[in-house]
C-alpha cells in the first residue's frame, strides 16, 4: 500500500484545518483558539496566541481591517460577525503578563540589514532577531514607526514596538539613510522595506511576491513599498524571516511549506442546531469590560467540521479525525510484528453504510476507506478471520448447498428472474415463495437463489467475491440474461457496483405498479425505516411508500433516513457493544412502528422489541411474524425454499444432504438459545460436536451426574458444548461457548 492510496479517500476532508476566518487573515491567526481562550477569560493565553501570530498585537488590534469578519459564519444564523478587534483590544488590556518570550537558542553570526523602521521592516527585524541573527535596522529618520508616526494612537504603538523588541538584540541606526545598497555589502542579506513611495533602489520591477526576492541575489523586499497593505506588510515580515533563514542556510530562496490560500475561506458549515446570539455592545467608551469581552468571544461558533463524527456512533466512539484514520490505515499495513496496529478494531467496527459520506460537505466516505483497509488486510493475511467467519460460512452455504437457479417451469429461459437474496428466505420463506408466485404469474419470472457476495465484500475477501461474481454471471447467462428482481437493497447495490451490465428492478416497484396487489395496513400510522443500502435507490424508497400508502398507512418520515440498522459491515462480532448501541439508537429513532424492506432490519428491530413489519407483509397481506428464527431454523428455511422452488420449476424432489448428527434432538432453554444467537453459535455445530464426541468418546466426562463436554475444532473457531443425554439421541445442552485461540499441539 502506498500512503497516497489511503489518504486519497480523505484528501478533501478539512477537519482540523483553520476556520474560514483564519484563511482570510493575513497572519493566519488561529481565531478559534484565540476566541476560545478569551471566551473563558484566559487573557494571558489568548494574548500569547495573538502575539505569536501578529508580531505587534497592539498595532494589529487597533488597525486591522478584519478580513476575518467577512468570513465569519455567525451571519449564517442572522447575527453580526464576531467583533474580533474589540476582543483583541480587551485581551491587551486584561492580559497581565505581556512580557515577550526570550528564545534560548545560540546566537548566529550571519548579519542582516533591514532598510526602513516602519511596521514591515520592524516585523522582519524582530522575527530575524528572535532567530538570533545579527540584525541592523537602517532608518533615515530619528525614530521607528514609519507611516504609523502621525497616527493619534502612536504612543500605544510605540510602546508595543518597544515591548516586543525588549527581549531581543537589534542594532538600530537612526538618521542613517541608505542611498546605495553597496553600502551594505558586508551584510549576508538585506531586507528593503522603505514604505509607500520609499526608495526601492530600482528593484521594484523585479520583486517576486511569493519569495520576496529581487534581481539582486541577497536583497529581499516587502511591505507597503511593494503595494501590500500595512497588515500584510507586518505579516510578510514573518514570511521574510523564514525565507531569509533558508536562503542563508542553502543559498536559495524557497517558500516554506504552509501556503496561505484564501480560496479555503469557502469551507462553510450549516451549523445545524446553533442558536442566534446578538453582537455584544460595549457599555462604556473604553471598549469591552471583561465580562463583555468574554461574552463576545464566546459567540464564536468554533467552526470546525465534525459532521461525520457527530453523526456516526462508530466515529464518535473512536474519536479519530478522518485524515488520521487514513494515515493509520496506511501505517497499520506497514506495522512490524512488535508494533500495535492502530485502527484494526475501528476497521471492523464500521457498518460501511455510507452515512458519513451523506453528511460530509465534501463527500468523504470513511466506510470506503475502511473497506479498502479490510481488503488490504485480507490480501496481506493480517485480518482477524474470526470476526467474519460466521458470515463467510453462511455465504458458502447460500452459494453452495442452498443455491439454485431456474427459469419457470417448462421454459428454457426467462425475461425476469427473482433474486431474493440469502437473508430473506432464511428469515421468512413465505416472503420469498409468495413473491415468487406473484412474479411468476405477472412476469413469467425464473428464480435465482444465491448470495450477492456482501459477506465477502464486508470481510474484504476480494477473491471470494470475484469468484461469486463470476458464478452469478454464469447463472444469469444460463437463464437467458433476464432482468433481476431484487427484494434486498444490499444485493441490488452490490450488483450495481460489480455487475452493472445485469438489468435490475426492485420487487417493490413491480408490486406497487401491479393492479392485482391489495396491500393491507398492519398499523394506522408508521414510519418507513429505509435501509442504508437503499440510499442511492430512490425508486425502491418511493415504491415502498407507495405500497404503504395504498394500504392506507399514514406515514411519518424519520428525521434521519437510510441509517444502518447495525447489521451492515457485519460488525457484531468485532464490536458487540457498539452493535448494541447502534441497534438501540435505531429502534428508538421513531416513536411509530416501523415498516422495513430489509430482512436484517426486521430482525434487528424484532429482537429489540420494536414494533415492525416487512413491506412484503403489507403488500401481500401476510400475517407479520414478530419472531426471529434461530440460526438452525434459518438454514432449514433456506433449504425449504429451495425444495419448494425446485419442485415448482423443475419438478425435482430436492432432498438436502442429511449429516448423521442432524437427527439428534437438542433441548436448549430460551435463555441459552438467546445467548447462542447473540454469539452466533448454531445448534447445528453443537449437534456435530456432540455426535462426534459420542461416537468417538473424544470428550470430557463427569461421572457424578453424567455430564459431558465436547469440543469441535473448526478452521477458525473452536466450539464447546456441555451437555447430558436425557433420552436416546436427545441431549440437554447446559452451555455453549467458543474461543479463537488454538492449541499448538492439536491436529
Amino acid at each position: 500500500m502506498r500512503l497516497e492510496d489511503a489518504t486519497a479517500y480523505t484528501a478533501e476532508c478539512f477537519r482540523g484545518e483553520p476556520a474560514s476566518c483564519s484563511w482570510a487573515c493575513p497572519f493566519r491567526l488561529d481565531v478559534r483558539s484565540f476566541l476560545d481562550k478569551a471566551g473563558k477569560g484566559r487573557w494571558a493565553a489568548a494574548y500569547k496566541v495573538l502575539r505569536d501570530a501578529t508580531v505587534f498585537p497592539a498595532i494589529v488590534a487597533a488597525l486591522c481591517d478584519q478580513p476575518c469578519r467577512e468570513h465569519c459564519q455567525r451571519p449564517l444564523l442572522g447575527d453580526e460577525p464576531i467583533a474580533v478587534r474589540d476582543v483583541e483590544g480587551a485581551v491587551l488590556r486584561y492580559a497581565k503578563d505581556r512580557r515577550p518570550q526570550s528564545y534560548a537558542i545560540p546566537p548566529k553570526d550571519r548579519r542582516i540589514a533591514v532598510v526602513g523602521a516602519g511596521p514591515a521592516g520592524l516585523s522582519t527585524a524582530l522575527n530575524l532577531a528572535q532567530k538570533r541573527f545579527r540584525v541592523a535596522v537602517f532608518e533615515k529618520r530619528d525614530a521607528w514607526g514609519g507611516a504609523l508616526r502621525p497616527h493619534p494612537r502612536f504612543a500605544e504603538f510605540d510602546a508595543d514596538i518597544a515591548l516586543q523588541f525588549s527581549a531581543v538584540e537589534v542594532g538600530f541606526r537612526f538618521g542613517a539613510e541608505v542611498r546605495d545598497l553597496d553600502e551594505l555589502v558586508d551584510f549576508d542579506a538585506v531586507y528593503v522595506a522603505t514604505g509607500a513611495g520609499g526608495g526601492s533602489f530600482g528593484l521594484l520591477e523585479s520583486w517576486d511576491r511569493g519569495l520576496l526576492t529581487t534581481s539582486m541575489p541577497k536583497v529581499f523586499m516587502g511591505g507597503e513599498l511593494c503595494g501590500v497593505t500595512l497588515m500584510e506588510g507586518i505579516a510578510q515580515g514573518i514570511e521574510a524571516s523564514k525565507i531569509i533563514e533558508v536562503f542563508l542556510q542553502t543559498g536559495r530562496a524557497t517558500r516554506p511549506p504552509g501556503e496561505y490560500d484564501k480560496a479555503k475561506c469557502g469551507h462553510y458549515l450549516d451549523h445545524e442546531g446553533a442558536v442566534s446570539v446578538p453582537l455584544v455592545q460595549a457599555s462604556g467608551p473604553d471598549g469591552y469590560t471583561e465580562a463583555e469581552a468574554k461574552a463576545e468571544a464566546a459567540r464564536c461558533l468554533q467552526c470546525d467540521c465534525g459532521k461525520c463524527i457527530a453523526a456516526c456512533e462508530m466515529l464518535s466512539r473512536f474519536r479519530k479525525d478522518p485524515r488520521q484514520i487514513a494515515l493509520e490505515v496506511y501505517t497499520d499495513m506497514e506495522a512490524n510484528p512488535f508494533s500495535t496496529r492502530a485502527v484494526t478494531r475501528e476497521t471492523y467496527s464500521c457498518n460501511i453504510c455510507g452515512y458519513c459520506r451523506s453528511v460530509c460537505p465534501v463527500g468523504v466516505d470513511i466506510g470506503a476507506l475502511l473497506q479498502f483497509s479490510r481488503a488490504a488486510r485480507m490480501r496481506a493475511g493480517v485480518h482477524p478471520a474470526a470476526l467474519h467467519d460466521f458470515w463467510l460460512r453462511d455465504m458458502d452455504f447460500a452459494t453452495g448447498e442452498g443455491a439454485f437457479a431456474s427459469p419457470p417451469r417448462g421454459r428454457p429461459a426467462c425475461e425476469y428472474a427473482f433474486y431474493p437474496g440469502c437473508q430473506l428466505r432464511a428469515s421468512n420463506p413465505e416472503h420469498v415463495l409468495r413473491s415468487y408466485e406473484f412474479l411468476r404469474q405477472t412476469r413469467g419470472a425464473g428464480i435465482t437463489l444465491g448470495c450477492c457476495g456482501a459477506p465477502a465484500y464486508w470481510a474484504g475477501d476480494e477473491a471470494r467475491l470475484q469468484a461469486n461474481i463470476e458464478e452469478t454471471r454464469r447463472q444469469w447467462s444460463g437463464l437467458g440474461r433476464p432482468t433481476l428482481v431484487f427484494a434486498c437493497a444490499t444485493c441490488e447495490g452490490l450488483f450495481r457496483l460489480f455487475m452493472p451490465e445485469i438489468p435490475r428492478v426492485s420487487l417493490y416497484e413491480l408490486l406497487a405498479d401491479s393492479e392485482t396487489i391489495r396491500p393491507v395496513a398492519p398499523f394506522a400510522e408508521a414510519a418507513v425505516f429505509d435501509p442504508c443500502a437503499a440510499r442511492d435507490d430512490h425508486s425502491m424508497e418511493a415504491a415502498v411508500r407507495n405500497l404503504a400508502g395504498k394500504a392506507g398507512v399514514a406515514l411519518e418520515e424519520l428525521k434521519e433516513r437510510n441509517r444502518c440498522c447495525g447489521h451492515g459491515g457485519h460488525i457484531r462480532i468485532a464490536n458487540p457493544d457498539l452493535y448494541d448501541e447502534i441497534t438501540r439508537n435505531r429502534a428508538e429513532a421513531g416513536a411509530k412502528p416501523y415498516i422495513v424492506y430489509c430482512a436484517n432490519c426486521r430482525e434487528v428491530f424484532a429482537l429489540r422489541g420494536k414494533e415492525c413489519v416487512h413491506i412484503l407483509d403489507v403488500a401481500l397481506g401476510l400475517t407479520a411474524d414478530s419472531r426471529v428464527p434461530t440460526l438452525e431454523e434459518k438454514r432449514n428455511n433456506s433449504l425449504r425454499v429451495k425444495r419448494e422452488l425446485m419442485k415448482q420449476t423443475q419438478d425435482i424432489d430436492f432432498e438436502p444432504e442429511r449429516r448423521e448428527w442432524e437427527s439428534l434432538t437438542l433441548v436448549i432453554d430460551d435463555e441459552l438459545q438467546k445467548e447462542m444467537e447473540e454469539k452466533l453459535i448454531s445448534a447445528l455445530d453443537l449437534k456435530e460436536a456432540i455426535w462426534r464426541a459420542e461416537t468417538s468418546c473424544d470428550k470430557f466426562y463427569d461421572e457424578s451426574d453424567g455430564t459431558s463436554l465436547a469440543g469441535l475444532v473448526r478452521p477458525v473457531i473452536t466450539y464447546w458444548v456441555q451437555y447430558r443425554e436425557i433420552a436416546p439421541d436427545t441431549y440437554e445442552v447446559q452451555s455453549a461457548y467458543y474461543h479463537r485461540m488454538r492449541f499448538e499441539r492439536e491436529e
Binding site: P337, T340, R341, T344, R345, V382, P384, A386, L387, A693, S696, C697, D698, K699, F700, Y701, D702, E703, S704, D705, T707, S708, L709, G711, T718, W720, Q722, S735, Y737, Y738, H739, R740, M741, R742, F743, E744, R745, E746
Partner: protein, 65 residues
C-alpha cells in the same frame, strides 16, 4: 453443580485432568498458559469462564495488534 467443582475425566483415557503448560496460538502469536489436560492423550480442557474471560481478552488484544 457449579462448573468449577466438577471433576472432569478424559472419556477415552479414563484419566483425571492435570494442569499442564500449554502453548496457544492466535494470529501468528503464541501464548503459554497452564491448562487442565489429560495426562495420557494430552487433550486440553477449556472452561466457559476461561474462554469468555481471559482467553477472549487476549484474543482481542492480539486482534488489535
Amino acid at each position: 453443580m457449579a462448573a468449577g467443582t466438577r471433576v472432569w475425566k478424559c472419556c477415552r483415557c479414563d484419566e483425571e485432568l492435570v494442569p499442564k503448560k500449554t502453548v496457544l496460538s492466535y494470529l501468528g502469536h503464541t501464548v503459554a498458559h497452564e491448562l487442565l489436560t489429560c495426562p495420557k492423550c494430552g487433550k486440553v480442557y477449556v472452561s466457559k469462564e476461561l474462554a469468555e474471560g481471559k482467553m477472549s481478552e487476549v484474543e482481542q488484544l492480539l486482534e488489535d495488534k
